[in-house]
């Protein structure tokens, strides 16, 4: 398409503008995360990873010889990718700049996440995307389905059919898809997935999962040892870090948190309203909502989003140590515990939310809906009703990948936090005002 040197020049300028804007917004949000008080020591590797990917615009930090496989959603078993000798990278994007590019490619009502992915792939400037040998797109919603087709023009793509129910047949079906996935991975990486390599991969991710369950155990503790935004940053960074590296980094965070717990330190002396964030994915750099919550004096005490706890909490449980048993464990883990709204009956999610509310003593729920993310929007009504019975206030925040609506969001979040504060028993309120 680029014919003359002038065209090339224009394209170059366009690219440069894109890179500038992209790095600027990413750096801005990174700075805001860094500026939040109470970060545990050991956060550095996670922030550095995000900086490396989005600000320095480099690929993920692995040896040149290793291949990366791009994945979307939480249903793609990372273990298989490690077993094939490659490194998985989650490509769900929250980038504003790429979103603007994608806006022209995808239809208006498509969700911004998909637009951002389309935008990145269209510009061809993002190393994380460009270095992928293959992309795995689980078809969890219509947008993901169409993006799979669109990505197919740029690179090798495998779609995975996600069942809409969780019956035995669906799991069996998914198991056979995982076998196909093995074959595709072997083709893409040139390595064979064997019993031994898969077992090894299980150990790799298992350790990360072990650290994660420790982390979440610490995170639940009262008073708070860590801010939710920092926790979300850690979870987000997992997308771009090999499991062992992430596990090591998380281990040092866990250590510093346990030291905090032992010393009785906490991030703040104030009684901050504890807020659960749920709904559409919140992907760096689109962390305006958690940042706003914490800047407005709340605390993100729990998150039920796919880049957060949902995606990683449930470990694969091997009930049968044959190769088939391991694959089944993966299929089972990917489908059954997942409260993704792609499933037709998702009552499970309500139970999960209630669980999180109880465990983290949540006082209010913020339901995040990305514009165009229909499946989440559908579930809002039901969740609102159910949580209404528990007398937990819920608010729906619709947002898009841009900064225009920050003020709108701020008003809502501020009012919501005020609402929670006023609901607290009066003696606590006076304590609060004294600190003011």
């Amino acid at each position: 398409m680029i014919t003359s040197s002038r065209d090339r020049e224009r394209k170059e300028r366009q690219d440069k503008r894109f890179i500038n804007k992209e790095t600027q917004t990413s750096a801005k949000y990174l700075r805001r995360i860094e500026e939040l008080s109470g970060a545990p020591s050991g956060m550095r590797p996670f922030l550095d990873t995000l900086r490396r990917i989005y600000v320095e615009m480099k690929g993920i930090d692995i040896p040149q010889t290793e291949k990366t496989i791009g994945t979307y959603c939480v249903m793609v078993p990372q273990e298989l990718i490690y077993a094939a000798g490659a490194v998985p990278v989650k490509l769900c994007s929250g980038n504003y700049t790429a979103f603007f590019i994608g806006d022209d490619i995808a239809p208006r009502d498509a969700c911004p996440l998909v637009k951002a992915v389309a935008g990145f792939k269209h510009t061809g400037l993002m190393p994380v995307y460009e270095k992928c040998s293959m992309m795995i797109v689980p078809v969890t919603c219509d947008c993901k389905k169409k993006i799979a087709g669109m990505l197919g023009n740029y690179c090798d793509v495998m779609t995975m059919h996600i069942p809409t129910t969780k019956g035995d047949d669906d799991i069996d079906e998914y198991v056979s898809q995982l076998y196909d996935f093995c074959a595709r991975l072997e083709h893409a990486t040139g390595n064979k997935i064997t019993y031994d390599s898969l077992a090894e991969a299980f150990h790799k991710t298992g350790r990360a999962q072990y650290e994660l369950s420790e982390f979440i155990r610490l995170k639940k503790q009262m008073p708070y040892l860590i801010r939710g935004t920092h926790a979300m940053t850690i979870m987000n960074a997992a997308a771009y870090m090999p499991a062992e590296v992430w596990a090591d980094a998380l281990r040092s965070v866990n250590m510093s948190l346990s030291i905090r717990a032992m010393k009785g330190e906490k991030i703040t002396n104030k009684k901050l309203p504890r807020i659960l964030l749920t709904g559409s994915p919140i992907v760096y750099p689109n962390v305006k909502i958690p940042l706003l919550i914490e800047e407005m004096g709340g605390i993100v005490a729990g998150d039920e989003t796919c880049m957060g706890e949902r995606g990683m909490w449930d470990p694969p449980v091997i009930t049968d140590n044959s190769f088939d048993g391991m694959i089944r464990a993966l299929a089972n883990r990917s489908i059954r515990p997942c409260p993704c709204p792609t499933f037709a009956d998702n009552t499970q999610r309500i139970y999960r939310l209630k669980q999180l509310i109880k465990e983290n003593q949540i006082q209010g729920v913020i339901y995040h809906v990305l514009r165009g993310c229909l499946v989440y929007d559908f579930e809002y009504k039901r969740i609102e009703d159910e949580l209404g019975k528990l007398d937990v206030p819920v608010i729906r925040l619709e947002s898009d990948y841009n900064e225009e609506d920050v003020e709108q969001l701020r008003i809502r979040i501020e009012a919501f936090i005020e609402l929670i504060k006023l609901r607290q028993p009066p003696e606590k309120r006076s304590e609060d005002s004294r600190e003011l």
Binding site: T194, A199, Q209, T319, D320, D324, A329, Y351, K354, Q355
Partner: protein, 391 residues
């Protein structure tokens, strides 16, 4: 259409079963001379004992061949379907992560092995015999030197119960059977039954060899159901129409012969081979169609042993369902009730072992927690050595 097919298939299986059991006497598997019925301490330490064990060797041998054949055929089929079978086996020393053995599981195995040992040789070696108390498990009473009586014979031969026994023994029989049913319930299946032990050993062997099993699903369990019903019918009814369940019962091949009693085997021998092969691929296959287990299960509501679930801790990950050898699905779908004990539950504790959520599942006895799920246990295979020290 599909359901009609299934009905026909079930009917055919039932008819075959019926014919097999009714005409069992005409289908000998291994016949001992009549004089070899009887044993003594001397016999089991002599060469003659090995001669008595011959049918067991045959059964084991044929089962091994059968298993090998099944694997071979399956691999052929898989290859035809384009699945790479080479990855099924582990050539190196790669090990799938395993959690550290739980105390509960060790206790279960020890009890299972010890009890079976005592049931088979206990009477002979240690002279422990209290023959009147009956346990409703499949430890064959044809082994007339076993530690204690089992209820299966008189339950399947009600005629003999009332004609052969004095009234006192009848009362002891009923009272002890009922008492065990109520007190222990299907804990007996998971902890005491020698038939269960045999099946669990087959499963252990499969896991050791990392062989792919048959993954059960609801359809399979649905298919078991009519067979189970038919087995119950056979078990309680065949005595009335002139058959003998013992000639058909696979349990007869284990205990008496090991005790050195030359019991002639009829259809039981063939059936045992099937069950050994079956339980190699599907854990506790026979328990799913066991008539005695069904009887015990009827009283599950009043048994003190319960599987408790904390529904607020569950994430519906389905690991318990995957692990359950009896295919109990409610254990993972239940979100309201705290008690998930089912008639089919054999209290083997597999679900609790696999449950990754703290306190989500627990096995209780009269309200006391015996075994509780914990993430730490499930993840114990992943923790690096350093972590353990720290915690």
């Amino acid at each position: 259409m599909r359901s009609r097919k299934r009905i026909i298939r079930t009917a055919v299986i039932c008819i075959v079963f019926f014919a097999l059991s009714y005409f069992a006497l005409y289908l000998p598997f291994y016949k001992f001379p009549p004089e070899s019925y009887g044993t003594s301490l001397k016999k089991i330490f002599s060469v003659e004992y090995i001669k008595t064990l011959i049918p067991l060797f045959i059964i084991t041998g044929v089962s091994v061949i059968g298993i090998a054949l099944v694997i071979f055929i399956r691999n052929k089929l898989l290859n035809k379907n384009g699945r790479d079978i080479s990855r099924y086996s582990s050539r190196g020393k790669g090990k799938a992560p395993r959690q550290k053995p739980a105390v509960f599981m060790i206790v279960r195995w020890v009890i299972m092995v010890l009890f079976s040992f005592m049931m088979i040789w206990g009477g002979l070696l240690f002279g422990l015999r209290s023959t009147n108390i009956s346990l409703p498990i499949f430890s064959c009473p044809a082994n007339n030197v076993q530690m204690t009586e089992t209820s299966c014979y008189f339950l399947s031969h009600p005629k003999d119960l009332f004609t052969e026994l004095p009234i006192k023994n009848i009362i002891i029989f009923f009272v002890s059977t009922l008492l065990f049913i109520i007190l222990l319930g299907r804990v007996m299946c998971g902890f005491l039954c020698p038939m269960g032990l045999v099946q669990d050993i087959m499963d252990k062997i499969r896991k050791k060899t990392k062989t792919k099993g048959i993954t059960p699903n609801e359809k399979m369990y649905a298919a078991f159901k009519p067979i189970k019903w038919f087995m119950i019918l056979l078990f309680f009814g065949i005595g009335f129409i002139g058959g003998n369940f013992c000639n058909f019962c696979p349990a007869i091949t284990v205990s008496p012969i090991l005790a050195g009693i030359g019991v002639s085997l009829y259809v039981s021998g063939f059936l045992m081979i099937l069950i050994l092969i079956g339980s190699f691929f599907k854990r506790r296959l026979f328990c799913n169609i066991c008539p005695l287990g069904y009887l015990v299960g009827l009283f599950h509501k009043i048994s003190p042993f319960r599987i408790k679930k904390d529904c607020t801790a569950c994430t519906e990950c389905g690991a318990c369902y995957e692990a359950c050898p009896m295919g109990i699905k409610t254990i993972y779908t239940e979100r309201e009730k705290a008690d998930v004990t089912e008639a089919n539950c054999i209290m083997c504790g597999e679900c609790i072992k696999c449950c990754p959520e703290d306190n989500a599942l627990s096995l209780t006895c009269a309200g006391k927690k015996l075994y509780t799920a914990s993430r730490k246990n499930v993840m114990s295979g992943y923790a690096s050595k350093k972590n353990e020290v720290e915690i």
